[in-house]
Subunit: 311 residues, 4 copies
């Protein structure tokens, strides 16, 4: 096996030297003021070892990466009934497109675009107060990462809400089709708090371990989800995890991944490792520019593509 530690250090050096770092999301001040010069990467191997490089303990807003955790939780609540309200196909459209909803009667294409994750939040709100639903997701992430210090940045959630007219459009639109059960404001409030979870690369890589372990929590030993469900979540991450750049990410990197507009990406190498990378500048599809590149290099050098024969 190649020297993973050295590879990560080399990647960090290469990324530090990169001039064109993409554009930091600026639609809310909390994201806009983040320094684009940062880069971190963490790998939690299935054998328990952890490797890191760069700004690996700098917390960032996980944003859409939370969609992986909320989906997992919602599947636990309602099982495959969830798929009556959300599809499983790549969208072929930007992350916040509303066109598809009109053509497909308010059923979002998958749980990793905004509309789909809003439905997922609506499911988690069922029978609960918003505060409870938010608390449940936070505790779930803390449990997955085995780290009670993970928290939500409420100012991010508040800013999202104040500027989130497009999400409000999506939510109201789905409500018009009967695919939201709660008042859009409540569901959106929950959704925005999910997006506002703050984690660093180390915490994020640890939180993703169950997906690399066939559904089991490596510390707790028991199953978070069944092996089949873990496979399926990985499959969804691969086909839909990078919005309208998912095909390209699969083509270049070749591992299931979920990106967030805060610049983070969670990647899974089934049976091998959970990884997290972070660099705030985004490419034209809204995915971390250097994060994507770093994962491409790492997957190639480690032969981690799920599309390659394993050694």
């Amino acid at each position: 096996m190649p020297d993973l530690d050295q590879i990560l250090q080399e990647i960090a050096v290469e990324m530090a030297a990169e001039k064109d770092r993409g554009r930091v999301a600026s639609y809310i001040p909390e994201l806009g003021k983040v320094d684009a010069a940062q880069f971190g990467i963490a790998v939690a191997m299935n054998d328990g070892r952890v490797f890191t490089a760069g700004d690996v303990q700098k917390a960032f807003s996980i944003q859409s990466i939370s969609k992986v955790f909320s989906l997992t939780l919602a599947l636990g609540h309602v099982g495959d009934a969830l798929w009556r309200r959300v599809g499983r196909e790549p969208s072929g459209n930007p992350f916040n497109s509303i066109v598809q909803l009109e053509h497909e009667n308010g059923i979002p294409r998958n749980p990793f675009i905004n509309a789909g994750a809003i439905v997922v939040a609506d499911i988690l709100l069922e029978g609960h107060e918003p505060k409870e639903a938010i608390g449940e997701l936070l505790r779930f992430v803390q449990y997955l990462a085995d780290d009670a210090s993970i928290h939500i940045d409420r100012s991010v959630a508040a800013s999202e809400k104040a500027t989130g007219f497009r999400n409000a459009a999506l939510a109201n639109y789905m409500r018009a089709f009967g695919n939201l059960r709660h008042v859009p404001e409540l569901t959106l409030g929950v959704y925005y708090h999910f997006c506002a979870v703050e984690m660093d690369c180390l915490q994020l890589a640890r939180a993703g371990r169950f997906l690399a372990h066939g559904g089991r929590h490596p510390d707790a030993g028991h199953s978070v989800v069944s092996g089949e469900r873990a496979r399926r979540i990985n499959a969804l991450m691969l086909t839909c995890g990078h919005y309208d750049g998912s095909g390209d990410f699969a083509f270049r990197v070749g591992i299931p991944g979920k990106s967030g507009v805060g610049g983070g990406i969670l990647g899974i190498v089934p049976g091998v490792a959970s990884l997290a990378v972070w660099s705030p500048g985004l490419n034209e599809n809204g995915n971390s520019k250097l994060g994507s590149r770093a994962l491409e290099i790492l997957a190639r050098r480690m032969n981690w593509s799920i599309f390659a024969p394993r050694n």
Copy 2:
């Protein structure tokens, strides 16, 4: 390892008993008259062993599965320049949609929808007579399967041409944007002959082996494509290989696959096996209904999903 031979026999028995077999494609008589009761499956293991069950030596029209072979060949001709004329993203639309072409200036979303494969045919026609381009593809498939008896059913190609108004629309439309270099009739003639290749499950499984072997031809020993290119073709098969049912196929089956309207599916388990299944009845997305189900059962019982930890 589970007893693969027994599993295949059980699957064949289960499929034989299935009442709801989907609908056989009927847009041309050559496909419409195929008996829906048939089912075959073949597995070419990377270690050289071959397992089969059912109607495994009955030739069928591979149709869109040919898109895998023509793409591989065209990448050999022009390399990554191909991606300036064809995208790499799932389409989010039916296989023969023209809407996306209007919105994206005549650049098809990926090489596995009709429009994309027509561009690929146009590339293979460059500098050649149609007859030569068709011959090259046929010889390539014969070489991959190591079987010179594979042939093209010219009556299928002729019927496709006679009824292929929607493909003619796609070709003319792309030509209007300058994304075809030849007269649409010529390019379409080549494309239709590619689709009309006849193979049985055994031949098809053998033809796909290079993708399970990291790009190498297991008999010839040398590389058909580089390991990176094999990975990338597998990735495209996973994200785009089943039209607007690609996400669902990844979710349920979890291996790269490419389906054809003749009822065949080619599946790849990188490092493990190349597989082919055939049953002529189609589901609502135009993919083999029993073929998809058979692969789902097989992948689960063999733990072949690329999204699962390997044993």
Copy 3:
């Protein structure tokens, strides 16, 4: 000239006998409970005579017909600058489509679809409290009809608000593009009150007279709008006044008209008459079924089509 009074009576008799009356809008209880058996028609001739037949003094919710009055008022406020925020083309889509907004950056196609009228309401809200903007529109309609008894049914406005998720989607979506200046809830509140104006056929026909008089108020004598503006509002009514049935209405009836989901239609014969018809049952495009038919018969018998030589 044909005997208008007799024609109207004959039309009313014919409509009373009609079995297939369309479907009454049922998305709010206030509309759903209206008796579909009703029909009324009123004609305010430019020479001052008024002709009526049927349920002509039964008040109904004018709904989208209010878009004519709010547009007229908003043009008075901001003049042609309004056209920087709203287009002037038929939409080619249902009245509440959001697809077009995504493709055209939040600029609605015309002021007579919901999205366009919401922008118009937003303009009228500029510098005012919602209450003031609502009062201004009501007083304007009262002035046009010369009837201070016209009022707003606040329970209709409240019901619209409670169920108007699709309009909320439109408003939030346009706000995301910066094409609303106020909080969507406020703008929508104003919009819903505009829609909830109650009028009978007689009042409505009188309110439309200025458009048949080249912009002048026939009682007050002075101009409501310039002759050019009156022409242009008439043109918009013709090309966009019946949603995605505007072309058919122009084809069959041949006069500028604006329909509302309450079953009313305002029609203008420039230089000749303003007319109002009402029957609550709607056709598949959301326009009054019998109202459209009655206007078709009336226009034919009176030779009132603007596409015909006048006698």
Copy 4:
């Protein structure tokens, strides 16, 4: 009545001085080489008088204006059955869009966009050789204008065919839905010859007279079409005659009109006059830039808008 002759001369002078004349269509050499400096206008009054100014006897390619004549002829052949294959609504899309066809199953929105006119040509081809169908249309236009010298420029038709991939896409697409009865090549051949009719402003204004005369041929005395059909064709010209600029033309000019990419526009003032204007430079919607402006000025000064009270 204003002095029409003087108004036309003033308009011609104003247009001659105009710097920004739009862009001449250049997709075929026959159109691309036309001198943009030209401008002509002709008015055939219902009382028989004719007024002209500018380059009024310079023949140009009438292009899409032929759609008015072919529609009239096809309605004579099959009557209202035509409307089962073509709609009557504005398209809300560019003239050569294919998106709408996919969403509406191959039924074009109206007979004045390319797809609709191709269906109309297909109807006229029914039971005839292409040569006969082309001859019938030409003789019809000659009869309407009372001028046997009107001819077709076959080199224009040939160039259209050689470059008309987008129209070929439309035709093949509609054929795929069964909405063409003939081989696309044949129907397109007929369509292109219709577009290639050459006329000057004087001839064109004369050819449109029947639409200003309630359907009657002013020379022959008898009816070309019924009064109702003339009204309806005028209505279609108003709502659909300028592609996705129809709403704006109605708003600004206010008379039924049909434009062609050769720079001509036919306008109808029912009961008053038929007019033709020509200037080869086009605006962003593909309509004559100066021609539209000239008609706007003329209609305003003559009070010819059908949306205004007549004097």
